[in-house]
Amino acid sequence: MRLAAPPKHRPVRSEQIILFRVSGQLFAVSSASVQEVRSVDSLAGAAAEIASPVLKKVKHIVRRGDKSLYVVNGAMHFGLPLTPGALVFILRRTRTALLIDGIDKMSAMTMLQALPQAFCHEERQWYRGLTALDQTVVPVVNPEGFLTTEELALLDASMPPPEILSDATEEGTELPQ
């Protein structure tokens, strides 16, 4: 019998995480990556519907000062059954606002295992790794993994000029429930 090399555990002393659900599935995100948590209702006035969505998972845009955030439907992104999103994470240092079902709880992780290399498709962009909490394995999302550079370029190219967008967002539309 031969033992494999120990798995790569990234040195994490203790990282605060938010456990949240999308379509019933549990995920984690570093709380440092979340700039704001907003209810869908509270964002209604600042969100505009994209007239001709180029990505199925992005149907709304939120204007935040001088920049636009794309609202990514978490269920569509992960290929999960659609559920009414109730909360939105504004993700720090990204142009993503993530539509989720709700928050389970705050917790702390002390171990982050790299995603096993057997996982070799888009999920490598989606997740920073996996963590074990209370005898459960939870994927830890990568805040930058919801929209690729290509997707952002596609979205930007499809957007109307900022002044038109500003007019639209002043009126606001409701995010999907």
Binding site: L3, P7, F78, P116, Q117, A118, C120, E122, E123, W126
Partner: protein, 159 residues
């Protein structure tokens, strides 16, 4: 000129998938464990069902039955935890099996060009010819790494 071919007896683990038996080099096996809870989360890699927790490690579960016998397993008795080689490291991968596993010694005949990439070679056991599997070619991994891995994992029959 006569060429002498010398085969070396090696250890293999026989595993059962449905009605068929396959072999893995014993050196590629970390352990055999009872099925435990599979944790599933969204991903796009075919054949990977999820992960299990084993000795503090998070181990992917890969159902190779469809590739080997043409159908997915409906029942499973054990997970055979095999060592999978990647370019820079090795990792564990759990392979569900349907029956008892057996450790045997045998001589392997190397696979030929016509064999599937996941076949390292062949052994004969109790009158049965059994494929020796190459987990590096059988289980998913980053593209371009499987060949490198398979070279390393191939069990050699010295000539």
């Amino acid at each position: 000129m006569t060429r002498n071919v010398e085969f070396e007896s090696q250890s293999f683990v026989l595993l059962r998938l449905g009605e068929r038996r396959f072999a893995l080099s014993a050196g590629q096996i970390a352990e055999l464990v009872a099925p435990s809870r599979i944790f599933r989360f969204p991903h796009r890699t075919p054949k990977i069902e999820g992960v299990i927790l084993r000795r503090g490690r998070i181990v992917p579960v890969c159902d190779v039955a469809e590739q080997l016998i043409g159908e997915s397993l409906t029942a499973r008795r054990f997970y055979l935890i095999a060592v999978r080689h990647y370019a820079q490291q090795t990792e564990w991968v759990a392979l569900p099996v349907t029956g008892e596993c057996e450790l045997i010694n045998s001589e392997m005949t190397e696979a030929g060009d016509s064999d599937a990439p996941y076949v390292s070679g062949w052994i004969s056991h109790n009158g049965e010819i059994i494929e020796v599997l190459n987990t590096d070619a059988l289980t998913p991994g980053p593209s371009g790494e499987s060949l490198l891995g398979s070279e390393r994992a191939t069990v050699e029959a010295r000539q």
